[in-house]
Each structure stands twice: as structure tokens, then as C-alpha cells.
Amino acid sequence: MIRFTAIRLVEIAATVLVMSFVIYAVIGLMPGDPIDLMRQADPRMSAADVVRLKAVYGLDQPLFARYLEWLRQALAGDLGYSRLFAAPVWSALLPRLGNSLVLMGSSFVLALGLALGLGTAAARRPNSRLDAAINLFCFAGVSMPTFWLALILILVFAAGLGWLPASGVATAGTSDLGDRLAHLVLPVATLTLASIGGYTRYVRAAMKEALAQDHVRTARAKGASEARIILHHAMRSAMIPVTTILALSFGGLVSGALVTETMFAYPGMGKLIFDAVMGNDYNLALAALLLATIATMLANLAADLAYGWLDPRVSYR
């Protein structure tokens, strides 16, 4: 187990290193150039200034040399300066990370809770009408384009009924908790509806298998109540695959929800990545993408470890 974890950590470190170079190189291929942007903003800049600025920022160096310099500074904890936020990358990143944790965390808890109920209800009576209805609901959730769902929710609840705010994290100038919660409702609803289908199908499959096991039949023969059978006997083994999804979703907590956050102008990591990529903010985009990569890979490792820990039949050599 320790050996397995160590090997995986080394692999993750290697992948992140490779990815950092790939992302660094690819971001340089995006439209626009920071010095050109400066030049457009300031008509008094001459061609000589451009050459001088390129030398100052090291842009006259070859790609790999620039990357090594970035890597040296990044390893020393200096991720550079964000052009878009006019602040160090760290101070632009951290508040957004907090916002994404709140958004993704609450929608995850909500979706998982509902999925446990729906999935169990469907698994108890396979091929019943209820099962078919839940199945269709799951497929509808998985097949719905997230941004369309967001648009419709905005159309109905914000533009139409005017019940809820459509964008942002709080009304400007207020620090009221109720106001913050109202701003969370539509994005959380979007994310929950989009993810609940997948979760429910996992829970249903796991529950169906758990309910078919011998110890559940024994419990039933002993005369245990239905609630006790579900909660005590079947849920335990059904929770193994569910824990895996739980671990996997930690990656999402950090990388945020790009589409949903952009739709609701919610200042989280997903919108930050999109804005940084679109706004030629190289330092910020690079740091945010790498952070998302590291989080996703660690979440995958956590999922594997949780699986092995919960199910003694699984062994990692």
C-alpha cells in the first residue's frame, strides 16, 4: 500500500512536471502577445522600447530557457503577477478557490444526498415504474447541456419571476448571509441537476448488487426491518463505489465549474481559468490550470486508496 502510494505520487509529480511544460508552451501559442497589448495601449512606445521590454521580461530567450526560469521561480513559491487582476497570482487565486469550494461543496452534498435516496429507491424495485422514471430522470440530467439548463433557470427564476439573482456572489455593498445564499441557489441548482444523474446511476448499481448478497438475505430471513436492512446491511457495501465518487469529486472542488460559474458570473476557479485564458493572463492561467491538474490527479489517487481501504478484496501490489 505504501509502495503503491509512493509510486503513484512519483508518477503524479512527473505528470505535473510534463503538463507544466506543455501548458506553458501551449499558452504561448494563444492569440495575442503581452508586449503587443502594451504597445496598443500606449501609442508613444517605439520599436526600440519593444525590444528593450522583451529583453526585460526575458521574452527574447528560447522557449525552454523561459520555462526553466518560470519553473525555478514557481518552485520557490513565486507564481508571478496577474495582469488581469493587477495583483500577485496567489492573491488572485485564493479567494476564488474559496468561492469554488463553497459552490462545488454544497452542490455535491445536495446531489449525493438526493442520489442516495433516488438510487436506493430505484434499486429496491428494479424494472418497476419508479425505477424507469428515475432512470429517465438520470438520463435527462446527464444529457442536458449545462449552459442551457443555466440559461433556462435564469430565464424562469431571474428574468421571468424575479425571485433570485442571476449573477455574482453577493449584491454590491451588502454582506448579508441571506443575500449570499440567494446568489448560490441558481448555480447550485444547475450543478446539482447536472451531476445527480451520474451519481444516482452509481448508487443504484451498487445498491442493487448489495441487496442481492447473501448476508442481506440472511438479515431478511432473521426478520430485520426493511430500514435496518437498507441502512445497516446493504448501505455498507454499497458505499464502497460511492466513496470512490466522493474522492473523485475533490478534484472538482478545486478546479470549479467552468461553464456554470461563467454563466452565473460566479467568481470561482472555473471562471477564473476561462477569464485568464481569454484575457491573455499567462501567469494566472498557468497557475490555475496546474492547480486544477494537481487536484484532479490527487483526487484520483485518493479514490483508488479509498477503494482499497474499504474493500479488503482489492489489493494494490
Binding site: 508518477e11 505528470t15 503538463m19 501548458i23 501551449v26 499558452i27 504561448g28 501559442l29 494563444m30 492569440p31 495575442g32 428494479p126 424494472n127 438520463f139 435527462a140 446527464v142 444529457s143 442536458m144 447541456p145 449545462t146 449552459f147 442551457w148 440559461l151 433556462i152 435564469i154 430565464l155 428574468a159 442481492a212 478534484g251 478546479s255 467552468l258 461553464v259 461563467t262 472555473g270 481559468i273 476561462f274 485564458v277 481569454m278 492561467a285 490555475a288 490550470l289 486544477a292 491538474t293 487536484a295 484532479t296 490527479m297 484520483n300
Partner: protein, 282 residues
Amino acid sequence: MRGPLLLLAGIAAISFAGPPLGAALGIDSNGVDLLNRLAGSSLSHPLGTDELGRDVLVRLLAGGRVSLTIALAAALAAAALGTLVGLVAGYLGGWTDRALMRLTDAIIALPLLPLLIVLAALDLGKLGVPPALARSDDISLLRIVLLAVLVGWTTAARLVRGATLVTRNRDFVRAAKSLGAGVPHILWMHILPNVLAPLIVATTLSVGDVILLESVLSFLGLGIQPPLASWGTMLSNAQELIASAPLLTIYPGAMIFLTVIACNLYGDALQQRFDHSEAVRV
């Protein structure tokens, strides 16, 4: 199982037949009519017109043709690439297998949408592609197909590798080998037929995934470029008019939703039909 397939076939049929039919009636999907903007439904424009006076119905069908073509091309190409990788990894085993599977795992473990956004925003001019070509419709189509293949091949690769590992030591493969059959022959004639069922299911499901991916990228302005219609670009335009013309938002989204859910339901039905172990247990 017949319902989703009929729905899918119906959407494909009207998407491919609609634009030529519209052209025959004198309606062009990109035909601008500024005097007739945001019109309601009428006999000449059954679903009304959009913000530039273009016929919404014809545009919806033309967009469907683009979205479906991309999805089919990408799903098939991803399946082909994944099959090749899976066969090679599973059959050769050893070092090749380990390297290819590490690559597959690495791609699966990446935050894909943020990274795809970066790739979709790439300036091809900086890679040496002539600007006229880099901005053409064909390139924007091809770019989405490539991106979808880049993230989509891993499912097929894993499936095919797994099945190859199981099949390669079966007696009929050994028999073929001892009769002097070459590796390509064994892979093609003896191993591939055994993985076809799960592969077809995965490909069907991936058609839906690609349609969603295309719509997201186009919606964010990184996929199909206007004036070419796709369901994603239509939604992107409609977003600004959501208060004044909400129906423009409803139509393309509903088309995406119906197509994707049909793919998913059909894939699921196929899976249950192919999955014998499930049938026995019930």
C-alpha cells in the same frame, strides 16, 4: 430501444434533408433579412426569424447537420484510434502496454474542459498555418473533431485492451497462431470481433458526449465560428436576447438535449442487450 433509435434517425434525417430543401424553397441558412428581424412564427418562417432575420427552422436543421457530422466523425475516429491503441497494448503486453496505459490514465486524470478551452483558443497562425486557412470553416470543424478525439479515444482503448487480454490466450487464438497466422490477421479476425459489442455501446454513448462538447465550445465562442450555424453557436447568439426572444434559446437547446438523450438511451439499451451476465442474473 426502438424509441431512441427512431428519434435519432428522425433528427438526422431532417437535419440532412432540411437545408437542401430550404435552399430549394429559396431559404438560405445564412440569409440575412434585416427588415424581418425576430419575427414570430409565420407560414414562410414556421419557427420565426433570429436577430439578423435568418430563418430559425432552416438554421436549426443546418446546425444539426454540422453538430451531427462532427459528432459522428469524432466518435468514429476516437473509436478507431482507441481500438488500435487497445489492440497493440493488449496483444504486445509488457513495456508497450505499460507505457500506453499510463498515457491513458494520465489523460483520464486531467481536468479536461479547462485544458480543452486552452487548446480551442490556440492561434494556429503562431503554428505556421496561413491565416486564411486558419480562419476557414473547415479548420474550425476539424479542430473540434481533433479535440474530441484527443479526449475520447481512452474509453475505447481501455475496453479493447481488456478484451484483448482475455481473448489472446483463448484456444482459438492459439490454434490460429499455431497454424501460422500473422499478428494483424489474429487481431483483426479473432480478437476484434470479440470486443465489437462493448465498442459499439461506447461509441454510441460518445456521440452524445461529442455533441455536448461541441455545443459548450461553440457556446463559449471557441468552436464553430459564425455565421456557420451549429446548435452551440445559435445558443451563444440567443443568450444576449434571452429576455426579448426566449424561444431562440429554447429551440437549439432542446435539439441538443433530444439528440444526446436519444444517444444515451440507445447506448444503454444496447448495453443491456449485449450484457449477457446481467440478463442471466435477472
